[in-house]
Amino acid sequence: MKRTSLESGLLIGCLSLFFIVLGVTSLTGSLVQDWFKLSSPILGGWLLLFLMTFWGGTLAFKKSPSKSWSETLRTGLSVGLVAGIMLALTIWGLGTLNAQAVPIREWLVQLTPAAIAMLTMGRAPVVAALLMFVVMLLAGIGGAAWAYAALHYQWRSVLNTRWLSARESVINMSLVQKYQQHQYSKQIAYGVGALVLLTAPLYLGRYWNYTLGTVGLYVILGLGLNVVVGMAGLLDLGYVAFFAIGSYTMALLTAPQPHDIVMSFWLALPIGVLLAACAGVLLGIPVLRMRGDYLAIVTLGFGEIIRILSKSDVLTDFSGGPRGVRAVGGPMLFGLNLNNEFYFMYFIILGIIIVAYATHQLQRSRVGRAWMAIREDEDVAEAMGINTLKYKLLAFAMGSGFAGFSGALFASRNKFTGPEDFTLLVSINVLSLVIIGGMGSIPGVIVGALVLKGLPEMLRQLDDYRMLAFGGLLVIMMILRPEGLIPSSRRKMELHDDESEALVPDVLVEGGEV
């Protein structure tokens, strides 16, 4: 028994216990049950625990200095033994306590009788504990054996070379090559993309138009924040404030209550954008003298101030207070009422295209370069003749304007707006999707929004775990892929320049086209 493998077992055992206490096992169980239409959640829960220990086995194998077959067996066995004993004791204990009707839930809310029944498979605690012990032993050995096999048969490198050669052959296929060489290849791709986008709302249906519409609004928010954080390097944690300002402007100007202005949507939209941009400048003038962490904290405060103000009793007559504003107006065009998810999807797609195009052009312009220079070194940027305050304000105003645009559409589409739509979580969400998608990358923001806003929407059961998943995802991303899911080519080069082999294939492929 090596100490390292016992430690791996302990780690896995603790992690599994943690999962059980948090209710992750029950959740996995019910998800698997839903997806595969099973009769009980037992399989999913046990599968998670099995996979954990299996993973522990592979981990321990990687750590063990000897890679012989007998050593592998011993490594897997010790991982399984430690994890097995821990889990068996837990199941036995929980099962017994549950049988004696001890109210475990009072201390550990996730350990409901149903969750415990899932762990004990509805059998006597001792039987379930023994069964768990055996399963964990098998899992540990299985994991180690798997790692042993992977090492000795070199699956990974074989698969990798296959993948590379397959890619090469696809690229070399005359049709693909012809397409790439075709002078209009880009335009054709854009055309197909536009066609898909234009027809998508037609066959998506109500639910998907609504869900993807929300994702789209977050894409606009993300693209706006990308200007502020990604390009100009100003960490704004109160971004939701400008979303709220756009949203409330639309609501107060078009709703019959509390002001009875009932302005046209088409007039309220630009006013919302403008007001949000002005708020950005007004906040920016005092705040942008601060840098880095200080700026983040002040903007964080500003975001909360706006939300609390909108909620406060003092402003109830003005902004509807905690109840929010109802019956927000929607767009009319030539006497046609466009106020439903379906038409809004088109507005949102159009909005994304406009914002994406504008930010893309700005990125490569004199303005974009000034922003980048400020991000890199503010003092030097100033010494090179850039009026830094002016450009920082410009970035703030643009980002805020886009947020206001998104907010105005949001309020009008939902026909409602209220303080609870503008929590700190929105700012964090948007920042996370920019980071996870890839800072400074426009496709990255779109993918980030789909992952962070679309997935939770589809996996409603996971709602309680959203923050946990966010945190985990961010940590994993920062370690494995700090440049984001779809990095801008620039960021990729910045972060992985020394890993030249990662760049070589692309260069070769490009060379091959010529």
Partner: protein
């Protein structure tokens, strides 16, 4: 005619007089050096000229206009550019982008031009790019335009920093220890390059330097600072034999050997 005049400039940090009533006149088209031991206030004086510090007393006149109270970007637009002792490039931008940033105040396109790709903007960008390319060639970095600044070798980074400063079309170029960290061969090249800058482009050069060899070889006029004060002034030969300068350097130790060794 004097391009830059400093009249009794004083800069204080708390009780410390970093720059104490420094007066000097930099004639147009000259190579002018400010030397002094560590902590003599040379870089602080530079920061006063470029607008990062506001001197408590005294005045700085550039080309007939006072610099005091102006923002750094305004001063750059008036025709003063600088490099830094510890190179400060925009690391995560390419060499050519670094130079384009230097051109910033001479270009005009704004948001609308960029978003709608107006004809004027496109022409301006094209011209700016050509000019940046020329500058890159001028400092000897041909073909390295698309490399990230941080990935360039040390000597190239120094040159790029000068190219970026030149992109602002300065009348006066402030070089803060341009040969710091260079080997003797690179130092000699840099000396030739500084001469070249003045002769070719007609730029007045104000140099801060520790390397005595460089200062003596290249400067036409030298000012020596110690404890923030102007202690001596003259041609290289005069400075070499000045008793106060020798004392200032001897007091701190080893640099004197360099003066003598020349």
């Amino acid at each position: 005619m004097n391009l830059l005049e400093s009249h009794k400039v004083t800069k204080q940090f708390g009780g410390l007089l970093a720059v104490n009533t420094v007066s000097l006149n930099v004639p147009e088209n000259s190579i002018f050096s400010v030397i002094g031991p560590n902590g003599a206030g040379k870089t602080t004086f530079f920061n006063c000229i470029t607008g990062f510090y506001k001197p408590e007393e005294g005045d700085l006149i550039f080309n007939g206009h006072s610099l005091v109270g102006r923002r750094p970007d305004q001063i750059t637009a008036m025709g003063i550019a600088r490099t830094y002792q510890n190179i400060r490039l925009f690391d995560d931008m390419t060499a050519i982008e670094n130079i384009l940033v230097g051109q910033h105040h001479r270009l005009h396109s704004g948001i609308f031009g960029a978003v709608f790709q107006l004809v004027g903007t496109r022409q301006e960008e094209k011209k700016a790019l050509e000019e940046a390319q020329e500058l890159l060639d001028f400092v000897g970095l041909q073909g390295k335009g698309d490399i990230f600044a941080k990935n360039l070798p040390y000597g190239d980074q120094r040159r790029l920093e000068i190219a970026r400063a030149l992109a602002t079309k300065p009348k006066l170029l402030l070089l803060d220890e341009p040969t710091a960290g260079m080997n003797p061969v690179e130092t000699v090249e840099m000396m030739a390059f500084i001469h070249h800058l003045r002769d070719e482009l007609g730029i007045t050069i104000l140099l801060i330097e520790h390397d005595m060899k460089l200062v003596m070889g290249v400067s036409e006029w030298i000012v020596v600072l110690d404890y923030g004060m102007n202690i001596a002034e003259g041609t290289p030969t005069e400075i070499r034999s000045n008793q106060r300068v020798i004392e200032a350097y001897l007091g701190r130790g080893s640099d004197f050997a360099l003066v003598q060794g020349d």
